[in-house]
Amino acid sequence: MTDSLIFVSQAVLLILGCLFFAVGTLGLFRFSDTLTRIHALTKVDNLGLGFIVLALLPLAPSLAGGLKTLLIWAAALAASATSAHLIARAVHVRPEPPNAGEVEHD
């Protein structure tokens, strides 16, 4: 009984996680500028990965395995926050040209 309950909640969490990842990617298409796109990718992927990690925790073979899974999430968060900031700063310092696809002529 408990086993099937855990199994069902794991399935729900995994699907939820994947859906959030999908929505985050949708953000790349629906949002029009770099900074807004970063909002979609950082926040939604953080939550998506969080759900997937949560779903995998009951499967962890040992305490160390569970901790390792959590460390992956923490490392992804730190990388996500840092790279988001670096890209945002780069865009701020050198703004995108209005027609990004157009070739510039000097």
């Binding site: 969080g50 160390a64 730190a78 926050a81």
Partner: protein, 171 residues
């Protein structure tokens, strides 16, 4: 007055322990690797104390726990918020920038705050210059500054600091 830095010995012991626990997790508790891991943890901790001496901001376990709770709940809010906007046909966003004066001191507190804000609902750290933080907001109609101040209080709690948040935003 800044608080006195933690003693290097305590910082060294703390970092060694944290590194060793990380090693233990990464090797899935493999017994044959523990001895090597212990040596590496101690060496890396020693090097880290040489390169990054203890700051004047020791961590508070209680504040850290409160921060984690706050961070997790706000992460859910942030993800759901962006997902809701993205899935709405009207795409209700009004991006803009806001510059705030931070009340937390230079160093780890400010660094932690700027990075945390990038993962919090509707904010993205763009530029940190001195105590001026420029944020990109997904929707400037939201009470961005109120949320930032709430996060700031939690970050200050991690280091056992008190902040007076009566600073006004300059747009």
């Amino acid at each position: 007055m800044p608080p006195a830095p933690a003693s290097p010995l305590i910082t060294f012991l703390f970092r060694s322990t944290v590194l060793f626990v990380v090693w233990w997790a990464l090797t899935l508790g493999e017994l044959s690797g523990l001895g090597f891991g212990a040596v590496v943890s101690v060496l890396v901790a020693w090097l880290s104390v040489r390169l990054f001496p203890p700051s004047g901001f020791p961590l508070r376990p209680g504040g850290l726990l409160l921060f984690f709770g706050y961070f997790l709940s706000r992460s859910v809010v942030a993800g759901v918020d962006v997902a809701r906007r993205l899935l709405s046909p009207a795409l209700p966003v009004q991006p803009g920038e806001i510059t705030l004066t931070l009340n937390v001191p230079e160093g780890s507190p400010r660094w932690l705050l700027a990075n945390t804000l990038s993962l919090m609902p509707g904010t993205l750290s763009v530029l940190l210059e001195g105590d001026q933080l420029t944020l990109h907001c997904l929707d400037t109609r939201d009470p961005v500054e109120r949320d930032v101040r709430a996060t700031e209080r939690r970050v200050a709690g991690v280091f056992g600091l008190a902040v007076d948040d009566c600073q006004e935003a300059t747009r």
